[in-house]
């Protein structure tokens, strides 16, 4: 096999317009959701996002019943259903003994069951597996527009408000004390999360949409101590994995959603093991005395028995 033939094999799929649309959509959504993921991971809302992704289903089903499979209708339906579950969960938690995670979990699983039932009554014939696992090669122009607008809204919103958001993520009580409207920012973040989930439906489906959001940010979190680097690192990891996963799925002839998520999973596993600072293998290799400063002081202490090591200087 010559280099030229490999190259032509790589390029061939892009002759098809459905493949071009799929690629563009993957890159956009991968980047946007990877970016958003940092906020969700640091807010510790990964499981809430999971709940929201499941609660999209009844909204999609009702939209399909009323307006058929138009992307705009599906977006609106999914958005409404997820917001209802998120806000309903908060309301339930506030008015009863139930804690918020129990309330949200109860609501989303009920919504999910309702969605499966409702899909049977849809006007158009829908394949449930497309909703659940995505159908990237079926990305139409309408879906692309949703991806464009989700990317634009999410990225501009997050960049514009990254400073107050950072304060809220770090410590919401202190943020509120310094006059930041924490409630508004949290609701905005929730809305963008749902938007990101809906936008990634075609690519990876309801069940795997969480992966594009959480996995890149989790990987970046293991690799860096800088918020900015985590933010952009997560975005680029998401983009490259989504595109890479699409390629793999094309050549190995397996569904794109699992392929993308598995690729992200491999990266996360790699960071978990080998991250220079926080990888478990790297930490083992570093030995017991992690901090050079304290090791040196300890050695000095052994030489001069009377000198007590300074406690507040360099210890961790």
């Amino acid at each position: 096999m010559t280099a030229a033939s490999i190259l032509s094999d790589l390029i061939t799929p892009f002759g098809y317009s459905f493949m071009q649309r799929a690629l563009l959509s993957c890159a956009l959504i991968g980047f946007t959701n990877g970016f958003l993921g940092t906020f969700i991971v640091l807010k510790r809302q990964a499981l809430l996002a999971d709940a929201l992704s499941h609660s999209l289903l009844p909204g999609l089903a009702i939209a399909a019943m009323i307006v058929g499979l138009s992307p705009g209708g599906l977006l609106l339906g999914g958005l409404l259903a997820a917001m209802l579950v998120a806000l309903g969960g908060q309301l339930m938690a506030r008015n009863s003994r139930l804690k918020d995670e129990t309330a949200v979990a109860s609501l989303y699983i009920i919504a999910f069951a309702l969605g499966i039932v409702l899909i049977r009554f849809s006007k158009v014939k829908i394949d449930l597996t497309h909703f659940l696992f995505g159908n990237i090669l079926g990305v139409g122009n309408g879906d692309l527009w949703i991806a464009y607008s989700a990317a634009f809204l999410t990225l501009s919103g997050l960049v514009l408000f990254h400073r107050p958001l950072l304060l809220v993520l770090f410590d919401s009580a202190v943020a509120r004390a310094s006059g930041i409207r924490v409630g508004w920012l949290e609701t905005g973040l929730l809305t963008l999360t749902v938007l990101g989930l809906v936008a990634s439906l075609q690519a990876v489906g309801v069940l795997l949409s969480l992966g594009l959001m959480i996995l890149p940010a989790a990987t970046a979190y293991l690799l860096t101590d800088s918020f900015t680097r985590m933010l952009w690192g997560g975005a680029f990891l998401g983009m490259f994995s989504a595109v890479g996963g699409l390629f793999l799925s094309f050549y190995a002839n397996i569904p794109s959603g699992p392929c993308i998520v598995l690729l992200l999973g491999i990266l996360l596993a790699g960071a978990y093991m080998f991250s220079p600072r926080y990888g478990i293998v790297s930490r083992l290799l570093l030995g017991r005395h992690f901090h050079e400063g304290s090791l040196q002081r300890w050695k000095g202490h052994e030489e001069h028995h009377h000198q007590v090591p300074e406690v507040d200087g360099e210890n961790r």
Binding site: R163, L167, F170, A177, S178, S226, M230, V311, D312, R316
Partner: protein
């Protein structure tokens, strides 16, 4: 009973303050005034409303009655003049931020949403780090500091924010002796620079050592004034004994 702290133009003035949770008052009808340049210890038994008082001054809780005035002005919600320092366990120490990055957060209010840091802002950050002896650790992730250094990092952030009133909820809890001493001298530096510090604390024995002024609380105000006078046996009996000053919650 309410022995007011002497003053001319008080920095912080609390009048007739009542704060309730679900209609049950945690503190009621507090009136006191505090001047700049003091380190005020807040004492009282568990459930006396120390955290409640600190949170309402920070703007985190809405008063049911009364008012809080900063420099003679009514406090509308929250203000950048007040820096609330979180309890240590409320902080996610794994957060991807360096000490310097955290102190920079104190400048966000001055810089705005997208503005870039001016020379002035950078200087404020640098000064804050130097003031609390954090310059050598500025590039460290916040978990890699000792407990005392972590507290000082939060003080540095408040300093960069140019706050006048520092609210600290049990900052000495869980610190070893050396870290506590370092924190205490950091607090003294702030007092020397004319700041007002309000610190809740549970160890009465250290009261006079750490604070020049004290507030003794048990639902209502028992005493406010010089630490040695406030922490008198009689006042302490009032605050910690259950017979007289037990507050509304024990009546039922």
């Amino acid at each position: 009973m309410n022995q007011l702290c002497k003053n001319t133009v008080p920095l912080l003035r609390v009048r007739d303050l009542t704060v309730s949770y679900h209609r049950v008052p945690a503190i009621h009808h507090l009136t006191f005034e505090l001047e700049a340049g003091h380190c005020v210890g807040l004492f009282g038994p568990n459930g006396a409303g120390k955290s409640t008082l600190l949170k309402s001054i920070s703007g985190l809780l809405k008063p049911e009655t009364g008012s809080i005035l900063i420099g003679g002005r009514e406090l509308a919600g929250s203000s950048n003049l007040i820096a609330y320092l979180p309890q240590r366990e409320a902080v996610d120490w794994d957060f991807p931020v360096t000490v310097e990055g955290m102190v920079e957060m104190g400048r966000y209010h001055h810089v705005g949403l997208l503005g870039s840091f001016s020379r002035n802002d950078h200087r404020a950050v640098r000064e804050a780090l130097e003031l609390f002896n954090l310059t050598p650790f500025s590039r460290r992730q916040i978990k890699e500091l000792s407990g005392g250094q972590q507290q000082r990092a939060f003080l540095a952030r408040a300093w960069a924010q140019q706050a006048d009133i520092y609210i600290l909820d049990e900052p000495f809890a869980g610190l070893d002796r050396t870290s506590a001493e370092a924190l205490s001298s950091a607090l003294k530096v702030l007092v020397g620079l004319g700041k007002l510090l309000m610190v809740s604390h549970h160890n009465l024995a250290e009261g006079e050592l750490l604070f020049d002024t004290a507030i003794l609380l048990n639902g209502e105000l028992i005493a406010c004034g010089k630490t040695s006078e406030v922490l008198s046996p009689l006042n302490l009996e009032c605050a910690y004994g259950t017979a007289v000053y037990s507050g509304n919650r024990h009546l039922s």
